[in-house]
Amino acid sequence: MNNIRKIIVYTLLTIGALIMIFPFFWMITGSIKTYNEIIGNPIVWWPKKIMWENYVIASEYAPFLTYFKNTVIVSFFNTFITLFTTILAAFAFSRLEFKGRDTLFSILLSTLMVPSQMLIITNYVTIVRLDLINTLPALIIPFTASIFYIYMLRQFFNQIPHQLYLAAKVDGCSDWKYMWKIMVPNAKNALITIGLFNWIASWNAYIWPLLVTQSDEKRVLSIGLKYFSGEAGTDFELLMAAGTIVILPLLILYLFARRYIIEGVSRGGIKG
């Protein structure tokens, strides 16, 4: 590729990247500005004095340490159970032949279209009936199956050549064993990706967690962001500080998992 094209590619990508990360830059710098600097006119690029206090103050608004602990627990169990149910379902949809399979799948697919806001009251009642209100399981269980991920993993499973399945059958491998010993290892990246996506989702969820938790001991990070909006204004600087606190762990996790992500959603992860 000649240099002119190289230069074009790089410039385009750089501009794009800047657009992508600017809001983060703004949030993070915002978290060390004063309230008035954030809304400063003309635009304030960098605080006169770095307000680390913001973090201190923000962290005093709510017990973020407990929240962090809970968030990790919730995200962890949620992710692993989700992976389990997703693997099973995706396998059934991609490898098991039974009448009405595709119909069932599109029915499930259509549940993606339900605005979740409509469901939460009924679900709240269910959670109460299950006597799980204000417990961590209440934050975990309702999200331990996702047709979205099943769809994704099914796409990937479909890429695994059918002959592997036949071969394994001849080699005396049961469906169950085939799933765990052949498909799962080959879908490693896809699973890591789905895991990460799910982890992020459950990390950022806040409407439901707030609804079903009633005491600080059971609450999660994203709820912490609620504390900074009052009835007559918002503590921007604190909210941004808190926002940074919430996103930071994800950022780190992501940097670890990122190399799998591309392969994760890649079709034909293995050549047929």
Binding site: Q163, L166, A167, A168, K169, V170, D171, G172
Partner: protein, 397 residues
């Protein structure tokens, strides 16, 4: 152990309900210990047949026997077969060693063979309780302990045995040095051999190969061909392999089965089949350069090719199809005069092309005849190497 297919049929029906007959009432006996080629043009149902033998497709009709045992209902893994796929289907995430070990790890029998048989154990226990206080008891006790002794540290033995088998099979297909590689690091030929090793590992009663050579380049194909033959000889396993390449099939199989549109055409040893094809299809399908065919008239016991009498036959008057092997032509002083339009040297033979009855004909003649393109020669047909078929293609003589 023979494989017997009785009236075996497979009908596929797609979503819209259309049915296609892939295999049609097959009756074949594959003799024990032989290497049998399942031959036919693509789509003739040979792979389907193989998969039914393997137990991956269930027949729509008919039964399959291994020896006297009806295996039609038995699932693939319990049939004691080894299957090699066209594209090898090696497990990408496993090393060669793990690939070979996989079938063994899945085999209950293999695992059981390292554990004390619970039945036997309970027998011993009963005996011991019966013999309470009886001097006999000591002896039984001893036997019992001895019996158990064999199964001490079974895990280690299991591992050792596994490794031993892996090495043996790897040796057979000589890939010992590849055991720790991943399939992606192997050449086509090597993958092929690994696939065979994996199939052999659990020492199957039957070895099935689906187009095993089609993914290899010409040289490798010849070589692997020989290897497969060697392996089969060495192991003596009844082997069925599917191919569409008649040359390949002829060269290695002890028995040939030719299929067309799911219908059995002929079963025989390659040479016999070549020498006496039962129908026009077989005649045309075998042999390279392919057999030459002419529409002829049989009038008062003579084969007439455009008012030239070729041979006398003891047949009623009718129109028929004459098939002549290239090598069945001979150059004579006084025969049908033809004009040579091509001359090729194939090894020691000489292939000449000429037009007869406005159709191109290939003939093999002895090399020392010196012929040039454009020469006119008289040719005739030898007494062997030609066949007559009726309009339906069934052999007349």
């Amino acid at each position: 152990m023979d494989i017997i297919l009785k009236n075996l049929s497979k009908i596929f029906s797609n979503k819209s309900g259309e049915e296609t007959v892939a295999v049609d009432k097959l009756d074949i006996k594959i003799p024990s210990g032989k290497l049998v080629g399942l031959l036919g043009p693509s789509g003739c149902g040979k792979s389907t047949t193989l998969y039914m033998i393997a137990g991956l497709h269930e027949p729509t009709e008919g039964r399959i026997f291994f020896g006297d045992e009806d295996v039609t209902e038995i699932p693939a893994e319990k049939r004691g077969i080894g299957l090699v796929f066209q594209n090898y289907a090696l497990y990408p995430h496993m090393t060669v060693r793990q690939n070979i070990a996989f079938p063994l790890q899945n085999s209950k029998e293999f695992r059981q063979s390292f554990k004390a048989d619970p039945v036997k154990v309970s027998e011993f226990k009963e005996k011991l309780t019966e013999l309470e206080g009886n001097p006999e008891r000591e002896k039984v006790q001893a036997e019992y302990l001895e019996y158990l002794e064999q199964f001490k540290d079974s895990r280690k033995k299991y591992k050792a045995e596994m490794e031993k088998i892996i090495l043996e099979t790897a040796k057979i297909v000589d890939i010992e040095e590849l055991l720790n590689r991943k399939p992606s690091q192997l050449s086509g030929g090597q993958q092929q051999r690994v696939a065979i090793a994996r199939a052999l590992a659990k020492n199957p009663k039957v070895l099935l190969l689906d187009e095993p050579l089609s993914n290899l380049d010409a040289r490798l194909r010849l070589q692997t061909r020989e290897e497969i033959k060697k392996i089969q000889r060495r192991t003596g396993i009844t082997t069925v392999f599917v191919t569409h390449d008649q040359e390949e099939a002829m060269s290695i199989s002890d028995e040939l089965v030719v299929l067309k549109d799911g219908v059995l055409q002929q079963v025989d040893a390659p040479q016999n089949m070549y020498n006496s094809p039962e129908n026009a299809f077989v005649a045309q399908f075998l042999g390279n350069p392919p057999i030459n065919t002419f529409d002829v008239e049989i009038k008062n016991k003579e084969i007439i090719l455009n008012d030239y009498s070729l041979k006398n036959v003891n047949l009623e008057n009718q129109t028929a199809l004459l098939a002549v092997r290239p090598e069945a032509f001979k150059v004579v002083n006084d025969g049908i005069e033809v004009k040579v339009y091509k001359v090729e040297h194939i090894g020691r033979d000489k292939l000449i092309g000429f037009e007869l009855n406005d159709q191109k004909v290939n003939a093999l003649v002895d090399a020392d005849l010196d012929l040039k393109v454009g020469d006119k020669v008289d040719i005739d047909i030898r007494s062997k190497g030609y066949y007559l078929f009726d309009k339906e293609g069934t052999r007349l003589m």
